[in-house]
């Protein structure tokens, strides 16, 4: 085998003294099983292939994104986290690779692939950087889906081709006084002839620094309660739209999270997405799908962190043997690996259920809840396994530890997920 001539090795060789690079190169091709594609399974007469079976297209996409993330994105991660800033190069390359319009029709410049492909893409990106993964996730599972499902021909024409090629989108639901209690939002939209005047403020808006378009949930008729909530398309350059200073966060620092101020902004009637007063339905619907995307993000995060820590345990020698060889370590590592596998199966199954048009909400909640818990466990353990060095910023695991915490909080807190699941379980026992 001619080893030193391969370009990845030559890149690593130059930086072998920097721990980040030594750890990073091992992330490629970590799968122990070569994939069997759905087509191969069918040819072998396997009627019910395991969950980790991908179509040839999905497999190729996953490998392409894996390679791209490990080689092109990895060098930016540490700096973006430190400066709390997403590098424009990174965003540009996401668009160039077609990762921002995975399900958008090629007619609008998108990739024209499936929901499951998006999930695989988000997982692979999250193995390298959860912030980049969340940018991609919001774009694909929230923004693009809303436009595709609800957009008029004119709206699709105007926005979908931009969303797949160069424009980031933002989803604005939460406010300072309404997080989990989303539908008590106070932002108002008053009708004046053929336009609306929107007043209010939004909080915790991801992608806000980079977004060119904002999907703002505002209430046109507070007396109707949540049945007045409507979705408005607001362009970034709309007068009166102020994007506040971004939050200084514990984790997911490269992802911009800003408050938004809407000061008498005028939005034409044709910028209503879907129907008046149906916004709450759209929000719930999209967040059910977005849940699976977040599950994929947490899954990738956990796997990426695990893939960094285990090689260390195989190299580090204490008391004359590898620390991996101590039974206590082996049991902990095996336990975490099992949890990640279970999280993966929940996530993939929820995604396949959705694609099959079958009920998936309970399973999506389970996936999001479980993977965020698994991510917390995994990252915490990985730091312990790496000991002192795991605690330093020279090694990547502490970033995964900080990034995982948001998983139990955003896009529906763990408590909300559990309550939603309980509602479904309750109904299941109705006779």
């Amino acid at each position: 085998m001619a080893s030193p001539l391969i370009r990845c090795f030559s890149k690593v060789g130059r930086q072998v003294s920097r721990p980040w690079s030594v750890c990073q190169h091992g992330l490629r091709n970590r799968s122990t099983q070569p994939d069997m594609s759905a087509e191969q399974a069918a040819a072998l007469g396997v009627t019910y292939p395991p969950l980790q079976t991908y179509s040839e297209e999905e497999g190729m996409m996953r490998d392409a994104v894996n390679k791209f993330a490990q080689e092109r994105l990895a060098p930016f991660v540490s700096k973006m986290d430190e400066n709390s800033l997403m590098d424009p190069e990174v965003i540009k390359s996401l668009f160039e690779q077609g990762l921002m319009g995975i399900e958008i029709d090629p007619e609008y410049g998108g990739t024209g692939s499936t929901f499951f492909s998006s999930i695989l893409v988000i997982e692979e990106l999250a193995k390298v950087d959860a912030s980049v993964a969340v940018l991609c996730d919001i774009q694909n599972t929230l923004i693009n889906t809303l436009f595709t499902k609800l957009g008029t021909a004119a709206q699709k024409e105007r926005y979908l081709s931009r969303l797949s090629t160069d424009m980031v989108g933002s989803f604005c639901l939460s406010e300072a006084e309404s997080g989990s209690d989303a539908f008590s939002l106070k932002t108002r939209a008053d009708k004046h002839g053929d336009y609306y005047v929107i007043n209010g403020s939004k909080m915790w808006i991801s992608n806000a620094e980079q977004a060119g378009v904002f999907l703002v949930m505002a209430n046109v008729d507070p007396s109707a309660g949540h049945r007045g909530i409507t979705c408005f398309i607001v362009d970034r350059d709309t007068e009166g739209l102020q994007i506040g200073k971004k939050e200084n966060k514990l984790g997911l620092r490269a992802s911009s999270t800003c408050p938004l101020n809407l000061d008498n902004i005028k939005v034409p009637e044709k910028n209503v997405l879907g129907q008046i007063g149906h916004g709450y339905k759209y929000a719930i619907g999209m967040l059910n799908e977005g849940r699976i995307g977040i599950a994929a993000q947490m899954l990738g995060l956990a796997q990426g962190c695990f893939d960094q820590a285990v090689p260390y345990t195989r190299q580090r020698v204490q008391f004359g043997k590898r620390i991996f060889d101590f039974q206590a370590m082996q049991h902990q590592i095996a336990h975490v690996a099992t949890q990640i596998e279970a999280a993966r199966l929940l996530t993939y199954n929820a995604a396949r259920l959705k694609e099959a048009g079958r009920p998936f909400i309970k399973e999506a909640c389970m996936a999001k809840y479980f993977t965020s818990e698994v991510a917390t466990l995994t990252t915490s353990k990985c730091i312990e396994w790496m000991g002192g060095v795991g605690f330093t910023k020279d090694y990547p695991v502490e970033k995964y530890y900080r990034d995982c915490k948001i998983g139990t909080i955003y896009e529906g807190t763990t408590n909300i997920q559990l309550s939603t699941m309980a509602k479904f379980i309750d109904k299941e026992y109705d006779h």
């Binding site: 085998m1 370009r7 040839e56 190729m60 998108g110």
Partner: protein, 253 residues
């Protein structure tokens, strides 16, 4: 100037730890991750670049082997090749397949497809032979530009900058010709997701070596495969005299 043939080989992925089979007949390939030979990726990139610069009209990706090699051809299609040819070789023939058989296949295809250029990787990372390109050129009686680190088309000729032991050598050869890609020729592009989707619609033709009049009989027999001896720790010495004494003691000088 119409058509370029690019050879792509499916090899064990470079990052995999290789293990020798217990019977020492070869290395373990079952259940092991495979991907496109890195030098073949560079060859594909060069061919696609030539097409983008409008020097050639069509890039055809060719691979020889069992059904699994179609994945490798699809990757080449996703990088920008127009169509693929899968030469089916399996079982004993596949295990015994070497540069001579491949060269014969490529020579036959180059004539059949009326190719102006055949671009191959300089060597494969599994056997390190570095022979296929040279043999193909000899069988076709075409000029060859091997270890190419820069390729420029100049009318009916190709200027090739070659990496050789002494440095760089620039040659000008007429087409049709065979080129082999070295590491620094280019940086292969990532297959973008839209291109992967488009690759699904591109055609891969199937054929057998017999269709091309090629006999796959190997003149080489592998007797035994062993791992390299385990590297032992070195010995540190304090002075130059110690070093000389040690080298004399173990018979090196």
């Amino acid at each position: 100037m119409s058509r370029v043939l690019v050879g792509v080989k499916r090899v064990i992925d470079y990052a995999v730890k290789i293990r020798v089979k217990p019977d020492h007949s070869g290395v373990v390939t079952d259940g092991v991750k495979h991907s496109m030979n890195p030098f073949c990726e560079i060859a594909v990139e060069e061919a696609v670049k030539l097409k983008e610069k409008k020097f050639i009209k069509e890039v055809v990706a060719v691979s020889c082997g069992p059904t699994q090699v179609t994945e490798t051809i699809r990757t080449a299609l996703a990088m920008g090749c127009d169509r693929g040819i899968h030469v089916e070789v399996s079982g004993k023939d596949y295990e015994a397949m070497g540069p001579l058989q491949i060269a014969k296949i490529f020579a036959a295809l180059a004539k059949k497809e009326e190719a102006s250029l055949v671009i191959l990787g300089k060597q494969a990372i599994d056997d390190d032979c570095n022979q296929t390109g040279q043999m193909t050129a000899a069988l076709l009686d075409w000029p060859q530009g091997t270890f190419a680190s820069e390729v420029t088309i100049d009318g009916e000729k190709v200027k090739v900058v070659r990496e050789i032991d002494g440095g760089l050598e620039t040659i000008k050869i007429s087409m049709p010709a065979v080129l082999t890609a070295d590491l620094r020729l280019n940086t292969p592009r990532y297959a973008t997701l839209p291109n992967i989707m488009k690759a699904k619609k591109k055609k891969i033709a199937n054929m057998k070596p017999a269709d091309l009049g090629v006999d796959m009989v190997s003149r080489v027999e592998v007797l035994r495969v062993d791992e390299p001896p385990t590297r032992l720790a070195g010995v540190k010495v304090e002075t130059v005299d110690d070093l000389v004494a040690k080298l004399k003691a173990n018979g090196t000088i």
